[in-house]
């Protein structure tokens, strides 16, 4: 089972018992090194900036910043890190949202320990991993055609700022991300909404009653 490469793992879960349990399970494997076990997305981002983990095991329900929103923040700041979501929710909507936000894998907390290790290995090798129950949930309800691809939290924030007439640079400054990331978001938003111009984006925001009055 042991591999020559060492995988650096960061674990983030707000429940101390679960956190310790997972850590204990993961640490029993020699080729995986736990670089940190923290209880909030803030702490995870901070620690990750120093430790540069290969895989981040992230709970979905976290205080302040949710695990889903944290995916986007990791994608922006540490694009190398692979996000493996750890959740109690087996609903299709959670899983598809996690994938949409950029998670590499999704496993339920009640899977056997061996499966957690398989998942870590799979995502560390640039693959994806969905635990048995999750895969079923996705397959089961099949290709449910959602009429609109929902925007991510970050994309929504970028859209609202752009609609106010802010420049890419402005938005980048406001959200503390690079101009290139803003560009990427802008491109994705346009693709999702099927709108090609910035004026069209502004129109869309106004039509949906989202423009703040101030």
């Amino acid at each position: 089972m042991s591999a020559p490469v060492s995988i650096k793992v960061l674990i983030c879960d707000d429940h101390p018992l679960v956190l310790e349990g997972i850590r204990a399970v993961v640490e029993t494997f020699d080729h995986i090194r736990v670089v940190g076990a923290v209880r909030s997305a803030h702490a995870a981002l901070e620690l990750a900036a120093r430790e540069n983990p290969d895989v981040v095991l992230m709970d979905i329900n976290l205080p302040e910043i949710s695990g889903l929103d944290a995916i986007e923040l990791f994608r922006e700041r540490l694009p190398r890190a692979r996000l493996l979501m750890l959740s109690m929710h087996d609903s299709r909507e959670y899983i598809s949202t996690a994938v949409l936000y950029g998670a590499a894998g999704y496993i339920l907390k009640d899977v056997p320990p061996a499966e957690i290790i398989s998942a870590i290995e799979a995502v560390a090798a640039n693959g994806t991993y969905f635990s048995s129950g999750v895969a079923e949930a996705i397959l089961e309800k099949g290709q449910k055609q959602s009429t609109v691809v929902p925007l991510t939290t970050r994309e929504q924030a970028v859209l609202l700022l752009l609609a106010q007439g802010r420049s890419n640079k402005d938005v980048a400054g406001e959200l503390d991300i690079s101009v290139r990331t803003v560009e990427t978001h802008r491109k994705n938003i346009k693709k999702k909404l099927g709108i090609s111009t910035t004026a069209g984006l502004t129109r869309y925001v106004i039509d949906h009653g989202l423009m703040a009055d101030d």
Partner: protein
């Protein structure tokens, strides 16, 4: 002022105003009429007096006619004779004749002897009327009436007097007699008193009619209010009872699920762990198997907890937003019922207040439950739109509607009311239109349910 009082005021006020207006009009008209007839009465009375005076004067003139016509202008004996006749002529305590010469010197005054022989041409009554002068003027004109104030002999008080004066031009005498008008005025005043008491009576009658009517209106509205309040109270009680019942049912269900499901599973897992402990101690080889079986039991318990908690409140609503939660809801609905569901929503999430989000979700849940139970539909569409005037949810089905369901009306009516109340709580509205071809439910929330300042929901 609350609504009830406003309605009461609105019904009573016009009534009172109308009655007051009618009373005023009737009073005014009857007063006018009475005044006119009193004036006529007074006029007739005065005319009768005038005729009387004329007759009296003619009588006096004919009494002295023989002597006067036979006499010369300065026949002192004839004058003395006439003077005596006039002094004797009398009709009642206040009826007498007087005579003055054209210069104002008194010749005859049977009641006031002190006036005899003196000149009264400049004498005035309390109103400044030159009484004698004016009487002489009437006489010179060939006879006429003059009204003034004079002392009434029978009472000794100053009273209005109307006199007729004729001239004996040959002697340059003015001869006259008068009647006192105070009795005429007294009669008029009595008539006016009558009128006043009539008006008072009218008012009393109107009041006697109005007061009971107003009172009756008040009483009626009070009784209606009381009845409505009782009705509302009983409805509230019914509703409270239903809420309590529902709560109890829900609790009983959860308790049953916890006890029969999870509790049993966990007891099983504990037995396994106990067994494993025994096996480990005795060094049995299959201890690990037993532990694994125990872990499986715990896993089942975890799944059960997840299911129950999801049933109680879909965490998705908070984590992923309304669209995702509705997707899950409609997905499982479609799977369970075989009804095709189409869901259209907006690309945004977390736009509206969490409570409003929950309300819309519960409305959708109730609507889908109703469709499943009654509608017999094959296709349902759920459409969420977001516009300048607030979020809106449209749920349409192609079922048979519920208008034909009198038996279940009260139940589904409560469901509808529940939905309505959820929307109204946020100042929104719920409209339902149902036909035999389907039902359309439109839930609308006001703009105030939008979350503001969501430009950066993730603190950097």
């Amino acid at each position: 002022m609350n609504l009830r009082q406003k309605i009461l005021a609105l019904s009573v006020l016009p009534l009172v105003l109308a009655i007051l207006a009618i009373t005023a009009l009737v009073t005014f008209q009857s007063t006018q009429l009475a005044r006119a007839s009193i004036a006529t009465f007074e006029r007739n009375l005065l005319r009768a007096k005038e005729n009387e005076l004329l007759n009296l004067t003619n009588m006096a003139v004919s009494a002295i006619a023989d002597i006067y016509q036979a006499a010369d202008a300065d026949d002192e004996a004839a004058k003395a004779q006439v003077q005596a006749i006039l002094s004797e002529l009398d009709y009642g305590p206040d009826g007498y004749f007087f005579a003055y010469d054209y210069d104002g010197v008194n010749i005859v005054h049977p009641r006031q002897a002190f006036r005899h022989g003196q000149n009264w041409i400049n004498m005035t009554d309390p109103d400044g009327n030159r009484v004698i002068y004016n009487l002489i003027e009437r006489a010179k004109e060939g006879g006429g009436l003059h009204q003034y104030k004079w002392e009434k002999p029978s009472t000794g008080e100053i009273a209005d007097k109307l006199s007729w004066a004729v001239g004996l031009d040959k002697w340059r005498w003015m001869l006259g007699t008068g009647v006192y008008l105070d009795d005429v005025f007294a009669q008029t005043a009595a008539a006016e008193d009558d009128l006043r008491s009539h008006i008072n009576t009218t008012f009393v009658i109107v009041a006697a009619i109005t007061v009971p009517i107003v009172f009756a209106v008040f009483l009626a509205s009070f009784l209606i209010t009381l009845h409505e309040r009782r009705l509302a109270d009983s409805k509230l009680k019914e509703l409270t009872q239903r809420v309590v019942d529902t709560q109890e049912e829900e609790r009983a269900r959860i308790a049953r699920e916890l006890h029969d499901g999870i509790s049993q599973t966990m007891v099983g897992a504990r037995y396994m762990l106990d067994l494993a402990a025994t096996k480990v101690r005795s060094g049995a080889a299959d201890a690990a198997d037993v532990i694994e079986r125990g872990a499986r039991g715990l896993n089942d318990a975890i799944k059960e907890v997840r299911r129950i908690s999801h049933d109680l409140r879909p965490g998705m609503l908070d984590d992923l937003g309304l669209t995702a939660a509705l997707e899950a809801l409609t997905g499982s609905f479609a799977e369970r019922t075989g009804i095709t569901v189409e869901l259209k929503s907006v690309a945004f999430k977390n736009l509206i207040l969490p409570e409003a989000r929950t309300a819309l979700y519960r409305v959708a849940q109730e609507a889908l439950t109703n469709i499943e139970r009654h509608a017999n539909a094959t296709r349902v569409s759920v459409i969420i739109t977001s516009a300048g005037n607030g979020p809106q949810m449209l749920i349409e089905d192609d079922g048979q509607g519920f208008a034909h369901l009198p038996a279940t009306r009260s139940r589904s009516g409560l469901g509808l009311r529940n939905m309505q109340e959820r929307m109204e709580h946020f100042g929104g509205s719920l409209e339902v239109s149902t036909t035999a071809k389907g039902t359309v439910l439109k839930a609308h929330l006001p703009k105030s349910t939008y979350l503001t300042k969501k430009s950066d929901p993730v603190p950097a």
